[in-house]
C-alpha cells in the first residue's frame, strides 16, 4: 500500500508480538482429569483456550505461559512444565 503520510493510521494488518517465545513454562492439560468446566478458558488472558469437539484444548501459538489456567483449574488438571520438556 502506498502511504500518503497524512495521518498515521494502522490499516494494513494486525500488529502482533510473538508472545509464545516468552514462555519459560508451558501449560499442559491432562484431559483425563479435566471435567470440562471451562474455567481455564474464562481466565486465560490471551484467549489461548478453546473448546473443540467438546474438549478443552490449549493453543500454544500465543500462550505466554502465565500459569493462570493451572492456578485456577479447580481440578488441577493443568500443569506448568518447562518449555521444551513435556
Amino acid at each position: 500500500m502506498a502511504r500518503d503520510f497524512i495521518t498515521p493510521k494502522g490499516d494494513e494488518g494486525i500488529y502482533q508480538i510473538d508472545t509464545a517465545s516468552w514462555r519459560t513454562y508451558k501449560p499442559v492439560m491432562d484431559k483425563d482429569i479435566c471435567v470440562e468446566c471451562g474455567i481455564c478458558l474464562t481466565y486465560c488472558p490471551v484467549n489461548s483456550i478453546h473448546k473443540e469437539n467438546e474438549k478443552y484444548i490449549i493453543d500454544l501459538s500465543y500462550c505466554k505461559g502465565c500459569g493462570i489456567c493451572a492456578n485456577e483449574c479447580p481440578k488441577k488438571a493443568i500443569d506448568m512444565v518447562t518449555e521444551g520438556d513435556k
Binding site: 503520510f5 497524512i6 495521518t7 498515521p8 493510521k9 494502522g10 490499516d11
Partner: protein, 391 residues
C-alpha cells in the same frame, strides 16, 4: 445576493460557521468570544441550524470533542480566545498533526498575566507553531467570509490542515457594522459537503488512528505537513478567487496590498489595525507621502515570498505587531519578516513596532507617527530598538 444587516463580529463568525453546516460544534464561553457560542446555540434552539452542540466543561474538551467528531468524518466548528486557546493547547496541537481539517474562530485576546480580558494577538501568535493555518481578518465581513473560505482551504485534499480564523477581540468581536449575509444556497454551491477520505473511525472500515510511530516515519509525517502548509498559499489564493467570483468580494489571498505599487515605504499589519493603517495611508498619501500597506492575512504558513516581493524595491518598512516575541525585543511578524527577507536575499531598512497589547488602542495618530518615522529612515538602516505605541 444575500442581505446586509448590522451585526457584531461574533455574530458574523457564528453565521459564517452556520452557513458552513458543521455537524458538530463544541465550544466553551470566554470573553470576548462568548456570543459566538450563544448565537450558535440560539440558532440551534430555534431550529435554524442542524448541528449537534456539545456543552463542554472546558476548552480542552471542546477541542477533544471536535477531534473525536472529525475522526469520525464530521465537519466541525469551535471558537475560543486567550486562556481557552491555551487550555486546549495539547489537543490543539494534536488536531493539526492528525491533519483533521476544521475551522476554529479565535477572538484574539491578550494572554494573562497581567489579568486582562482585552484585545491582543498574543494568544494565537504564541501558538503559531502548533501546526495550524492562521488567517487574520480585518472586519466583520471578512470574518464571516473567511470562515467559509477556511473550510474550503482546510478540507482541500492538498492541504488537510485545520484553520484558525483570527479576529481581534472587541475591535472586531464586538464591532457592530453592516455585513452582507450570503444565501445558504450560494454557500452550499461554494462549499460542498465534506467527505473525509484519509482517515476514519468507522466499524465498516476498521483501522487504528495514530498507532505508535517510530522516528523515521515521524520525519515523513512532519515533512508532509510542512509541504501541505506550503501548498496552502496557492489553495487560499484560489479559494479567494473562487469566492470573489461567486460573492463579489476578493481579499487578496495570503496578503492584501494597499497602495503598495508605487510606494517607497510600507506598513505591515495584521487584523483590525489594518483598517486604521489604511486610513493613515490615505491621510499621508494626501500629504504626498508615498506610503503603502501590506496586510498579512495568512500568518501560518508565513507568506515569505509574497512579503519579500512587495518589499523588494522599497526604501523602508515598519511592522506593527500586536504581540511580543519574548525572546526578542520585537513582535513575531517583524521577526519573521526579517527572516524571510534574509533567506530570500533582501535587506531593507525596517522599524519594529509594538502596540495594542491588552486592549490598548492603536490610533490613527500612532499609525501616522510610524509613517513619519519611516520617512526619516535611510536605506539599509535598521532600528534595533522597538517603537512602543504608548498613549
Amino acid at each position: 445576493m444575500g442581505k446586509t444587516i448590522a451585526i457584531t463580529g461574533n455574530t458574523a463568525a457564528a453565521l459564517g460557521a452556520a452557513l458552513s453546516r458543521p455537524k458538530v460544534i463544541a465550544a466553551y464561553p470566554i470573553t470576548p468570544q462568548s456570543s459566538v457560542v450563544e448565537y450558535a446555540a440560539s440558532m440551534i434552539a430555534d431550529g435554524q441550524l442542524q448541528s449537534s452542540m456539545v456543552q463542554v466543561e472546558s476548552e480542552h474538551s471542546a477541542m477533544s470533542v471536535v477531534q473525536g467528531a472529525a475522526m469520525a468524518g464530521a465537519r466541525t466548528f469551535t471558537a475560543t480566545s486567550a486562556q481557552g486557546l491555551a487550555l486546549m493547547y495539547e489537543p490543539y496541537f494534536r488536531m493539526s498533526t492528525l491533519r483533521l481539517p476544521m475551522v476554529m474562530a479565535v477572538a484574539g485576546r491578550e494572554m494573562t498575566a497581567p489579568e486582562t480580558i482585552w484585545s491582543g494577538h498574543q494568544d494565537t501568535i504564541s501558538v503559531r507553531d502548533a501546526g495550524w493555518i492562521q488567517i487574520y481578518v480585518e472586519d466583520n465581513q471578512e470574518a464571516l467570509d473567511m470562515i467559509i473560505q477556511g473550510y474550503k482551504l482546510a478540507e482541500d485534499k492538498d492541504v488537510l490542515i485545520p484553520v484558525n480564523i483570527c479576529y481581534d477581540g472587541f475591535y472586531i468581536s464586538h464591532l457592530y457594522e453592516g455585513v452582507n449575509i450570503p444565501e445558504q444556497s450560494e454557500v452550499d454551491a461554494y462549499l460542498p459537503p465534506y467527505k473525509q477520505e484519509h482517515v476514519i473511525l468507522d466499524p465498516e472500515k476498521p483501522m487504528a488512528v495514530d498507532p505508535m510511530t517510530p522516528g523515521n516515519l515521524v520525519m515523513k509525517y512532519r515533512k508532509s505537513h510542512l509541504d501541505a502548509m506550503q501548498r496552502a498559499f496557492a489553495v487560499l489564493d484560489k479559494a479567494d478567487k473562487d469566492f470573489g467570483d461567486q460573492f463579489g468580494r476578493y481579499y487578496g489571498g495570503t496578503v492584501e496590498e494597499y497602495k503598495c505599487d508605487d510606494a517607497d515605504i510600507v506598513l505591515i499589519t495584521m487584523g483590525a489595525m489594518s483598517g486604521t493603517a489604511k486610513a493613515a495611508v490615505d491621510e499621508k498619501r494626501a500629504q504626498g507621502v508615498k506610503v503603502g500597506l501590506l496586510k498579512i492575512r495568512m500568518m501560518r504558513p508565513f507568506p515569505k515570498q509574497q512579503v519579500a516581493k512587495v518589499l523588494a524595491d522599497k526604501k523602508a518598512y515598519a511592522v506593527i505587531d500586536k504581540n511580543v516575541v519574548f525572546g526578542w525585543n520585537t513582535g513575531a511578524v517583524y521577526m519573521e519578516t526579517q527572516a524571510a527577507l534574509n533567506q530570500l536575499g533582501y535587506k531593507i531598512a525596517s522599524l519594529p513596532v509594538i502596540g495594542g497589547l491588552g486592549g490598548a488602542d492603536i490610533s490613527l495618530e500612532h499609525m501616522t507617527n510610524v509613517i513619519e518615522k519611516l520617512e526619516k529612515m535611510n536605506k539599509g538602516d535598521d532600528e534595533q530598538e522597538c517603537y512602543w505605541l504608548e498613549d
